[in-house]
Amino acid sequence: MKPLDPRLLRYARSTRVYLAATVALGVVLAALIVAQATLLAHGITAVFLDGADLRTLTPTLVALAAVVAGRAVVAWAQETVAVRSSASVKSELRSRLLAHLAAVGPARGGDTGAVTTLITRGLDALDAYFARYLPQLVLAALVPAVVLARLLPADLTATITIALTLPLIPVFMALVGLHTEAANRRQFRLLSRLSHHFLDVVAGLTTLKIFGRAGAQVATIRRISTEQRRLTMRTLRVAFLSSLVLELLATLSVALVAVGIGLRLVSGHLDLTTALLVLILAPEAYLPLRQVGAHYHASAEGLAAAEEAFAILETPAPARGTAQAPTGTIVFDDVVVRYRDRDALRLSATIEPGQIVALIGPSGCGKSTALDVLLGFVAPDHGRVTVGGVDLGEVDPAAWRSTIAWVPQRPYLFAGSIRDNIALGGPPTRTPAPPTAFAYCFTGALPDAPAPDVTAAARLAGADGFIAELPDGYDAALGDNGAGLSAGQRQRIALARAFLRDAPIVLLDEPTANLDAGTAAEVMAAIRHLARGRTVVIAAHRPELIALADRVVDVVPQPVGVR
């Protein structure tokens, strides 16, 4: 494993500044360690053998106090820099990940639990990597070199002993590291799988309860946790083995050096000052390396998390067109969309401006997929969609979508108030990020456009009735994906979004499916009103919707499993 992934420098620029600061602090610290050992050795010898009193000792004590103060300052600076850098790096990676996920779009698929885990918890593994592992790595290179340079003129035997055993530590580290790397990856994957499983089980708790299976799930969770413990312990037995070898080598070497200098002192080949210097500095030479070993586990976790992040960042975003949003006839030119080795949609159709077109066909024939293609969520695997003769693939998707109002079959409701959820259809109220700013240029809407008339839109969608009955009305906060609202109410909020959007093209995916007869009639009236002068594409089964259409396009279901 590389101790430092170069991509970390590329994706998180804060890393570079941090590395420079850490090296500078490491050099100062190494010098202070040597100075402290020298002063202690001199002081002890002066008192023990030369009978020095407190007054004679004063210069040594003052110098020692200065060194101690210096070490405190360096220690403070090291920690502070590490925590700040780690926070910056995590923030940089999070922002990049979120922006990239949005750029790649809904077609990415993948496991939302794992992505959420990575962005919220997974990246925290970098804390230990920056605060502990990297500085220790720098110290592990600097301190032994400086210590050996100081010991060389003092005592050759001890210097050679230390110089010979020190390199064994990185060798063992690499050997054990090779083994733990794969195990760590497995561990991280296991954790995200578990997190996904828990999310799934918690979300389905009500269903489990209905079938009396919640109790059995307790046992399953227990079994999975036991399995997790076994696997973790297996990883740890090896991971800790590395620290066992390191501690053994380091402590045993210090013991051998201590016994060696003791024996050479007896025979008069060494003086006490030198012997004490060796005794104090020998453990210092091993300490940073030992700590690198101790933090190895933390570093591997951090790098594994970084790797997951890089994997997402390196998923190519679909090519975005740059052309202005076209207007005119929409043509599905022999469009084929494949999903998991089968054709999910096969469609040729022409939609004239101002026409109301109903896409009909049995459930699963690809009506919603056709709308996804129009929205640019899904690129055709074959054929193309043109608007006024322009291939949609060449059009800036944000600009194109700004001409569309969409009511999906299962609208997503965001954490926030009902008002905010409807206002999604209006111009953004926050300072927009660049892609949206582009959309403004094309639609001509200004960022300070007047507050959208949420209430009027809700009235048109037939949503004002139930909203008025909520305790906080339009300011009622929605729970998890609209928890507390019925499917029909959610649908009507999505309809209100579309009314608020006031776009030339309207895409409706079964807009009256969840409404009772009375409300459906009201909404139908509103849809008729909305449809005037606009191009409307409706995925429909209900007869009243089909009756609304100028033209009906039959979407032919594709046989499953046949290419």
Binding site: I44, V47, D53, L57, L64, R71, A75, Q78, V83, A87, S88, S91, L101, G105, P106, T112, G113, T120, S195, V201, G204, L205, T206, T207, K209, F211, I221, R229, F240, L244, L252, V254, A258, G262, L263, L265, V266, G268, L272, L276, P283, L287, S363, G364, D372, L375, R401, W406, P408, Y412, A415, L424, T431, P432, T436, A487, G488, A513, L515, H541
Partner: protein, 552 residues
């Protein structure tokens, strides 16, 4: 319930392993201190050129310490982690069991992402609490005490300085730091939750956001949350630095005091010169052990916050409690009644009141009413997810509150509108209803739900994965699979909440007929807004017009 009680009850079965870990850790840290102390004496003594034989005991001791440290440390870490993981296992099962007890009415105030966070991250915190907080503290306390006694025996002043330094590093710094960290953590936890909820919103709601050109402003909002979190983390950086500085200072001051006091003592003859190095240098090794304490205390604050959140969930009052002496449900056929019932999901927000409803054995009843009129609440009352705030619900004349809730749900089955599909195979989703169902039984219910023909065209058949939230299926297919699952369970009363939603009209009518036929002599309550239901059922109850039973 306090977090301490939570930890104690969860940890008590693993106490043996934890004690073993403390003993091994104390041995390892003691070996490091011993190595430094005996080596210091050995060298000082050697400087006086005694016969080598006089040094033999010290030489053997130094080598033994050198060998034992690594081995004991290995034992400490293995024993500690194994015990902690066992505690984690129990705790996770316990939290999940509690969530299961509370769902769904008791969890209305939580978001799914937040609950999953509690079940994974917060439960993991117990690992930190044991291996990174309690274990290092126990070891440092024992070794620190031993070292203070050793140094103090030779130089009381140096011993006092060491004790003071250790207290500073082990107690004062952590207290100050944890007070500040608690502040930062309290600030950080909601920011993290905000970021997590925002991330879930972005990832799940991406199509809606892109369609409405709002992804950019969402990202800007998330960037704000992110910046707030970053600032909160950076604010705690100066504190992390202070503790490192004070630790370095404490070590240095002990060296200074040891040298000065030792010099005075040697000069006055109170201390033998060959013990001076022991007094001065032993603290170096002791502080190496104590240096981990401020970090341990930082883990403490975070782990405690997690354990408190768990204690929170564990002490959330259950919406429905099992009766102390449950009455057995008589054998069928069963009659269910709602008698002048009022109900609320959250106190004070009554969604139903004065509702009467009777479900006689084998009856086919439709419950209609505009959306939001409380149709699904009636279902929740009948399966005892919720208790009425007034009136009563009875099964064969027995108040449901006197029957064990699981028993009620063995009789009454509920297919909610948003029935959940697990991220596994079609077969496994069906077997949630009946784990021992045979392949024929699975095919039977799939046929009844009109899914079998489609499934037979799939290469993997019933072993096809349905994806996260059943995303690999169409809306209609999801509904049918959920229906098939409800049919598989042996409920005698079946409540179907909008069973034909998302299906085209022709299929919907056919499905409803099939469904009622498949239900056989079971009692069926269909909740719907469809006007054309009347022809399929014996009775229509309109909730919108307040309990007017209209015989058809």
């Amino acid at each position: 319930m306090s977090w301490i009680r939570l930890l104690r009850t969860a940890a008590s079965p693993a106490a043996g392993g934890l004690v073993l870990a403390v003993l091994a850790g104390t041995g390892a840290a003691g070996a490091a201190v011993g190595l430094m102390a005996v080596s210091a004496w050995l060298i000082s003594r050697a400087a006086l050129h005694p016969p080598v034989l006089h040094l033999m005991v010290a030489i053997v001791a130094v080598r033994a310490f050198g060998l034992s440290r690594g081995v004991l440390r290995y034992a400490e870490r293995l024993a500690g982690h194994d015990a902690a993981l066992r505690v984690l296992e129990r705790l996770r099962a316990r939290v999940f069991a509690r969530l299961a007890e509370l769902a769904p009415a008791g969890l209305a105030g939580y978001r799914h992402a937040d609950l999953a966070q509690r079940l994974s991250a917060d439960v993991d915190a117990v690992l930190d609490m044991l291996t990174r907080v309690l274990l290092p503290y126990a070891v440092a306390a024992l070794v620190g005490l031993g070292s203070v006694l050793l140094v103090g025996a030779y130089s009381p002043v140096a011993g006092l300085a060491l004790a003071g330094g250790l207290l500073l590093v082990g107690a004062v710094v952590p207290v100050l730091q944890s007070r500040a960290a608690r502040l930062a953590d309290g600030r950080r936890a909601p920011l993290r939750a905000e970021l997590a909820a925002g991330t879930v919103d972005l990832v799940h709601g991406l199509p809606d956001l892109l369609a409405y050109g709002a992804a950019g402003s969402r990202l800007a909002g998330l960037a704000e949350s992110d910046a707030k979190l970053r600032r909160a983390e950076q604010r705690s950086s100066a504190l992390a630095g202070v503790s490192a500085a004070v630790t370095a200072l404490a070590t240095g001051i002990c060296l200074l005091v040891g040298l000065a006091a030792g010099a005075v003592a040697v000069r006055s003859g109170a201390l033998s010169g060959e013990l001076l190095a022991v007094v001065v240098l032993t603290p170096l090794a002791v502080f190496e052990t104590a240096a981990v304490l401020p970090a341990a205390a930082q883990h403490f604050a975070a782990a405690r916050a997690s354990l408190r959140r768990l204690a929170d969930v564990l002490s959330t009052p259950a919406p429905v409690t099992a009766p102390p002496a449950p009455v057995d449900v008589p054998d069928g056929p069963h009659t269910l009644r709602l008698e002048a019932v009022a109900a609320a999901w959250t106190p004070g927000r009554t969604v139903l009141h004065g509702v009467d409803l009777e479900l006689l054995p084998g009856a086919r009843v439709a419950l209609v009413g505009p959306s939001g009129s409380g149709k699904s609440t009636v279902a929740a009352l009948l399966v005892r997810f919720l208790d009425p705030t007034a009136g009563r619900v009875t099964l064969d004349g027995i108040d449901l509150r006197r029957i064990a809730p699981e028993q009620v749900r063995q009789v009454v089955g509920y297919l909610p509108e948003d029935a959940y599909l697990f991220d596994t195979t079609i077969a496994a989703n069906l077997r949630v209803a009946r784990p021992d169902a045979t392949a024929e039984q699975l095919r039977g219910v799939l046929a009844q739900a009109r899914l079998l023909d489609w499934i037979d065209t799939l290469p993997d058949g019933v072993e096809t994965l349905v994806g996260e939230h059943g995303r690999a299926l169409s809306g209609g297919q999801r509904r049918r699979l959920a229906l098939a699952r409800a049919l598989l369970a042996g409920f005698q009363v079946l409540i179907l909440d909008e069973p034909t939603e998302h299906l085209d009209d022709e299929t919907a009518v056919a499905l409803l007929d099939d469904l009622l036929a498949a239900a056989g002599d079971r009692t069926v309550l269909v909740i719907t807004h469809r006007a054309d239901i009347a022809g399929h059922v014996d009775r229509l109850v309109d909730l919108g017009r307040h309990r007017v039973p209209a015989p058809v």
